[in-house]
């Protein structure tokens, strides 16, 4: 259990770093798929079975296919291969990120440990999730369906019309 956390955690961090460092968008997308997969494995370790399956289906399946489809559709030239005077921005960004990570480390080392709560067999299953979604969170659930409808209409309108 403990070893699996470190295996998948380091896999997620390594592929996330590779995604940021890769020049080729397709390679970056493939690395993001690996990150999504290892995060889904971590979700299983946290007994979040339903969310793990949704993660694989929606993220690693639908969203990444959409990304790769757009990358191949646009057939981008390698703009990023040309060197340009952005070293200053890179340095500042890396410094900001390192500073924020140091702050986070300080904060986490002072956070008291929460003991693991005991959970029953039904925790994280689709049935429990459905009970919650259709009782306590029914209104947000319906709002999200309207949001998705708006996103469908918006995506069709944006991709169809010529911007002149």
């Amino acid at each position: 259990m403990q070893q699996l956390f470190y295996v998948f955690g380091s896999l997620a961090v390594a592929s996330g770093l590779l995604m940021v460092l890769q020049r080729n968008p397709i390679t970056a997308a493939m690395n993001l798929v690996v990150t999504m997969f290892s995060l889904a494995a971590l979700f299983v370790l946290l007994s979040a079975h339903f969310i793990a399956v949704i993660q694989l289906l929606v993220y690693a399946g639908a969203i990444m296919v959409l990304f790769i489809f757009v990358i191949m559709l646009l057939n981008l030239q390698d703009d990023e291969l040309r060197p340009r005077g952005r070293n200053f921005i890179h340095l500042v960004s890396v410094a900001v990120v390192l500073f924020a990570m140091a702050q986070l480390w300080q904060l986490l080392s002072r956070t008291p440990a929460i003991p693991l709560a005991p959970v029953d067999e039904a925790y994280g299953t689709t049935g429990e999730m459905g009970m919650l979604l259709f009782s306590d969170y029914l209104f947000p659930f319906e709002i999200v369906s309207i949001l998705i409808l708006a996103a469908i209409v918006g995506a069709v309108v944006l991709a169809k019309r010529r911007l002149d």
Binding site: I54, A151, A159
Partner: protein, 100 residues
């Protein structure tokens, strides 16, 4: 089971990898992927707290985050396609129409 702090640290590291990508990369599609990575890191925090507190409310929030991320990806990629049709580039350095 690893302690909660390890999950939070992993989530923070993934989030800041995403932040670094958004700040340094010039390809709009890769910036988009980094935003997805940040959303995923937040989901890991939600689920870790949900497991350690023994409550399933965090699962509902993670579910909504995934849904909103899917909607955002569809609209955002449509915007990128529209911009590419118009300007023949997705390099965010050359898209300065709304810069002050």
């Amino acid at each position: 089971m690893p302690p909660l702090n390890h999950y939070l640290a992993l989530s923070g590291v993934l989030f800041f990898i995403g932040v670094a990508g958004v700040l340094t990369r010039r390809n709009a599609i890769i910036v988009f992927m980094c935003i997805e990575l940040m959303l995923n890191a937040v989901n890991l925090t939600f689920l870790a707290y949900a497991r350690f507190l023994g409550s399933m409310t965090g699962h509902v929030f993670a579910f909504f985050v995934i849904t909103v991320a899917a909607a955002e990806a569809a609209v955002g990629l449509a915007i990128i396609v529209a911009i590419f049709r118009n300007k023949e580039t997705v390099n965010i350095d050359e898209l300065n129409l709304m810069r002050w």
